[in-house]
């Protein structure tokens, strides 16, 4: 949570797209930007990308108001994937309310995926967040390519963890919205207990999700 201000009736949430370099995090946000309605959605801000590689971060913001008048901003960030930008990753991960881990489905990337996931675990705990509790989805991206790790393999690894896994292609737009909606739903439930969004603010889970995922 970036900010909650009772008086200003303002809640600012942070969702982070994490993962190894070039797995498709920026493409995910581009895809959301293209698919979703302009209503309540800001522009995609890409901070200085160098040769396709994010050295800072990307940001796609959303804004909505509950019937009670609570203003909710949802800021969706990507992190730079390269190992050397760990400091930036931590700064982005600070106070995150939910994480989408974008893995690269290509068989050759298996190692990078697991290194990056380890890094996520470490950094979450460094910034005081618990990977067991934080809303989390995993994307196996680039499903449109040929030489990719097969689904059975993925299931065998991830199903025991209970973390929802999406097979996506950010390039083709497959599964991008679904995984984002899942992350939004989980995030809603994790803060609803504390802020009573449904009771006090008249915002239901499905309303929250649909406001963030209305197609243009």
């Amino acid at each position: 949570m970036i900010e909650f201000d009772e008086q200003k009736k303002r809640l600012v949430l942070k969702l982070v797209y994490y993962g190894p370099a070039l797995s498709g995090k920026t493409t995910n946000l581009l895809c959301l930007h293209d698919l979703l309605t302009k209503e309540g959605r800001g522009d995609l801000m890409m901070l200085d990308t160098k040769d396709d590689r994010t050295i800072y971060f990307d940001l796609l913001p959303f804004f909505l108001k509950t019937p009670s008048g609570l203003k909710i901003k949802v800021k969706v960030y990507t992190v730079p994937g390269q190992v050397r930008h760990d400091a930036t990753r931590k700064a982005v991960l600070q106070r995150a309310d939910g994480v989408a881990f974008i893995a690269d489905s290509q068989a050759t990337e298996a190692r990078n995926n697991s290194t990056s996931f380890d890094n996520l675990e470490t950094n979450l705990s460094l910034v005081g967040l618990n990977i067991e509790r934080i809303p989390l989805v995993v994307q196996y991206n680039k499903r449109d390519l040929d030489d990719i790790i097969d689904e059975a393999n993925i299931r065998r690894v991830w199903d025991p963890t209970g973390i929802p896994v999406y097979l996506t292609s950010a390039l083709k737009g497959w599964g991008v919205l679904e995984s984002f909606a899942d992350l939004a739903r989980q995030t809603y439930h994790s803060i609803d207990k504390r802020y009573d969004l449904a009771g006090r603010h008249g915002l239901s889970s499905s309303e929250f999700v649909s406001r963030l995922t209305t197609r243009s």
């Binding site: 600012v12 800001g42 801000m45 800021k75 930008h85 400091a87 460094l126």
Partner: protein, 436 residues
């Protein structure tokens, strides 16, 4: 900056002081120096008032003055930051300008949002950079150069927008003034054509009747002188009653006066004809085209047409040098002269001295029109060529006369300037190049 959570093992990590995601206010993202030129541009383009208010209706920046007297239109556009409407730009103008105001509001919205977005990007990058990223000096320089370039692009955009708006509004005003002037001249032309027609017909038969009358009178006189010769041979008592009658009827005086009456009438006719010709010539209903023009004649004509406006006791001096004819549109020149002379004639009510002079140097014709009026205050002299500028009471002048004059003379590759001082009155000097 947010509070830093303590690492689980109790050690504080320096780079964890920084949290990405702090909310920024619009006032942090835009400075007055950035916003002011845009708002100024909006006012210059024809709006009365432009204001940016935040979501609590608090005024952040404004320019111009709200219009309270005339019917207005107001166009408000939201300013969005990260999808949230954080402020609004409101542009107000007179109702007649509604499409312009709408256009300006949209233009301002786009520019301001672009500015905010770019500054936000700049700020986030700088923050993150100074707080977290450890790039090499080279990389840092490259990044900064890139950011400066994109920032410069926005500044350029804002500046060129201002310029475009200014140019467009100037062009609009010019077109507007030309239209008005054209309308006026068309009305004058039509009037002149009508008047010329109405006057020329009766004038034609009066003149021709006068000539006939002179002929007839001549015949009577021949008869009378023949009769006089015939009666001279009569005896004295026969002549007497005729001489008495002739004396009673003052025939000798009539004979003499007739000549004068006829002469005066003919001269009157001639003058009317000339006035009509001037009127026609002035409005140039016959020749709206480019022709070889004698500027002295055009000045003379203009003065004749304006006769009714010359105040009583006004002294008009003319000092015309012989001029070669100039290839131009005399109708336009007449407009210029009317506009300037009309101003001069209004300079003072009593003791006005209007001076018109023309001169020729080897390739320039210089025309000077001056009055001995109270002059134009120094701080206003430079503004008299602005469209809609007037020192007169509202309704007395359109404030366009000098702007139109400037426009026309400039189009003829000439120059026009004003010298004015309180003790010497005002002199307008026009220089026109003679084509070689």
């Amino acid at each position: 900056m947010a509070k830093t959570p303590t690492h689980s093992n109790g050690k504080r990590e320096d780079n964890l002081f920084f949290v990405v995601g702090d909310e920024k206010k619009l006032t942090e993202l835009m400075t007055c120096q950035e916003v002011a030129p845009l708002l100024q541009g909006i006012i210059q383009a024809g709006a009365c008032y432009a204001v940016i208010v935040d979501d609590n209706s608090i005024r952040l920046w404004d320019h111009g003055r709200p219009e309270t007297n005339r019917a207005t239109c107001q166009v408000s556009k939201g300013l969005f930051l990260e999808g949230e409407e954080v402020a609004a730009i409101m542009v107000q103008g007179v109702q007649d300008n509604t499409p312009l105001i709408q256009g300006l509001a949209s233009l301002a919205q786009t520019t301001l949002q672009g500015l905010a977005q770019n500054n936000l990007k700049l700020m986030l990058t700088t923050e993150l950079h100074t707080s977290v990223v450890n790039l090499s000096q080279e990389e840092l320089l490259a990044v900064n150069a890139k950011l400066t370039a994109s920032e410069a692009r926005y500044r350029e955009l804002a500046a060129s927008l201002k310029k475009t708006v200014e140019q467009r509004s100037a062009a609009l005003k010019k077109a507007h003034s030309r239209l008005l002037q054209q309308e006026k001249m068309m009305a004058v032309g039509q009037l002149a054509a009508g008047v010329a027609h109405e006057i020329n017909n009766p004038l034609g038969f009066i003149a021709s009747n006068l000539r006939t009358l002179a002929k007839y009178i001549d015949r009577y006189r021949q008869l009378i002188s023949a009769l006089q010769q015939a009666t001279a041979t009569l005896p004295a008592e026969g002549q007497e009653p005729l001489q008495a009658l002739s004396k009673k009827l003052k025939i000798a005086f009539i004979d003499e006066d007739l000549q004068e009456l006829l002469g005066q009438s003919e001269e009157g006719c001639h003058r009317i004809k000339k006035i009509v010709a001037d009127l026609k010539g002035f409005s140039h209903i016959d020749d709206g085209e480019t022709t070889a023009t004698d500027i002295n004649i055009e000045l003379e004509r203009t003065l004749n047409v304006l006769t009714a406006q010359i105040p009583e006791g006004c002294r008009v001096s003319k000092d015309f040098a012989p001029l070669p004819s100039l290839l131009c549109q005399p109708a336009l020149l007449c407009q210029v002269f009317v506009n300037i002379i009309t101003n001069a004639l209004q300079a003072r009510k009593q003791g006005l001295h209007l001076k018109l002079s023309t001169q020729k140097s080897h390739n320039t014709i210089t025309i000077e029109i001056s009055d001995n009026g109270p002059g134009i205050p120094p701080h206003l002299v430079n503004r008299v060529f602005e469209p809609f500028f007037t020192t007169r009471e509202v309704g007395e002048g359109t404030g366009m006369g000098m702007a139109v004059a400037y426009d026309i003379i400039t189009a003829m590759a000439g120059t026009i300037k004003i010298d004015s001082s309180e003790d010497r009155g005002t002199t307008v000097t026009i220089r026109l190049p003679l084509k070689v």
